[in-house]
Symmetry: C2
Subunit: 233 residues, 2 copies
DNA sequence: GCAAAAGTGTTTAACATACACCCATGG
DNA sequence: CCATGGGTGTATGTTAAACACTTTTGC
């Protein structure tokens, strides 16, 4: 009775589902008044010589996030940054070598954590402006655009901007972070009101001096861990 | 000069990154005044006999989304539903058979698309209340909880409730969708005001009659495609 | 004194929240 | 006539948006 209707049996085959898994990391930072991403020049085929997102194959016993952190560290020398999973890309033809599925990660780092020169695999890692960068290998342009949208959305309802700023910063500096990410100006008075009433910041007793202008008060984030807000900008 | 400092060369090895890829689908619907998910009883080891999310291994030439739709159709007979990628789970020990990475998908369907009895592989597919369901195989409980949070968040700023409702529905019925998903009551007058001013619905010239109560006006969604709103509930 | 960015309030409109009673129908 | 859910409005508080001038410093 129960097994009378087995017209189209489905089986789990041993030799199906095989693929190679990579992670690729889109890591943003802010440098020289521009939103930038970190790219590496490929040393091997395919796309040898082209710029690509840092990333690589998973190892037997690491989680996807561990792979992402390891590859980021090995290829660019960057570590200790904010990292979250972005999206998984698995189109059959996205890699000419065969079926390669990539779990893309999204990362943010303040510029001072991006000291590229000193690190091992970093000879060919470089920051590029998001608005003007070389053509990327594979489907990395698509991945990068998705990461950018994630960033633009997420700073609306989280405190994530801490991960792009140094410990102490002025209100103008944090405003600039938002403006660069959204690629538009925001109103200074409304921005400050909002930012201060959100209660994420604590004022420091120092000021930024030495510029030929009025000194600016310095602030720091109360917590440098991920916080979601009820509503935001 | 450039290659003088190759202390720790990184290579892309041929035999690394291997894994099997599956997709698993968390599909929600509303039935008998409850938010439910569709589960299938496993026919094979591991976890033979346990309830699990529908899903399975990717084929050579399909995208991840195609895998999800195919598995959903084969295992439960359900097709033509709203589907989006949820998250990718790749812990090394999540599957006792070896390294299996799953790209989890999130799906929504109105109850009338969940006619399970008529379909091929559906003898062991069944709807369970989200609040009370059997213990799940693998890490599927974690996946389900993540999907539930996605659902609870996403109906705040999208028109996604169309995908849980029939073509025509009353305002009380759509309110019930929100209340079931959020597991809390909302104010009737405020809900209706909000829903109608959002402009997503068009009134139909019919009413729901035959119940021993005042007939309720019927509405339909203007568009049954994904729309993101600026803000919502 | 001047260039440059810091700092500061008010007004208006939109939206969120709280809340209670009458209406139309089928039985 | 009664049980059931359908249907409606107002008042208050909160948040968003628009908008321009004075202050402090280094040179």
């Amino acid at each position: 009775m129960k097994n009378s209707k087995v017209t189209k049996t489905k089986k789990e085959h041993i030799n199906t589902g095989n693929a190679k898994i990579t992670t690729d990391i889109v890591i943003f930072t802010i440098e020289d008044g521009e939103l930038k991403i970190l790219l590496v020049k490929r040393k091997y085929e395919p796309f040898k010589g082209r710029w690509a997102l840092p990333g690589g194959f998973i190892k037997e016993v690491e989680t996807l996030e561990e792979t992402a952190r390891r590859e980021l560290s090995e290829e660019t020398g960057v570590s200790g940054v904010y990292l979250e999973q972005l999206y998984t890309f698995g189109e059959p033809k996205r890699d000419p070598r065969g079926r390669v599925v990539t779990a893309a990660y999204f990362a943010l780092a303040p510029k001072h954590l991006m000291s590229l020169s000193a690190s091992s695999g970093a000879e060919d890692a470089k920051l590029f402006s998001v608005k003007k960068h070389p053509e990327l290998a594979f489907d990395h342009e698509k991945i990068m655009q998705k990461a950018l949208h994630r960033l633009q959305n997420k700073i609306q309802y989280t405190n994530l901007s801490w991960s792009l700023l140094p410990n102490a910063f002025t209100l103008s500096e944090i405003q600039a972070v938002y403006e660069l990410i959204w690629d538009k100006k925001v109103d200074k008075r409304n921005f400050r009101k909002k930012m201060l009433t959100l209660g994420l910041l604590k004022p420091l007793s120092k000021e930024r001096t030495g510029l030929r202008q009025r000194p600016a008060k310095l602030y720091a984030f109360k917590t440098k861990t991920y916080v979601e807000l009820r509503r935001f900008f």
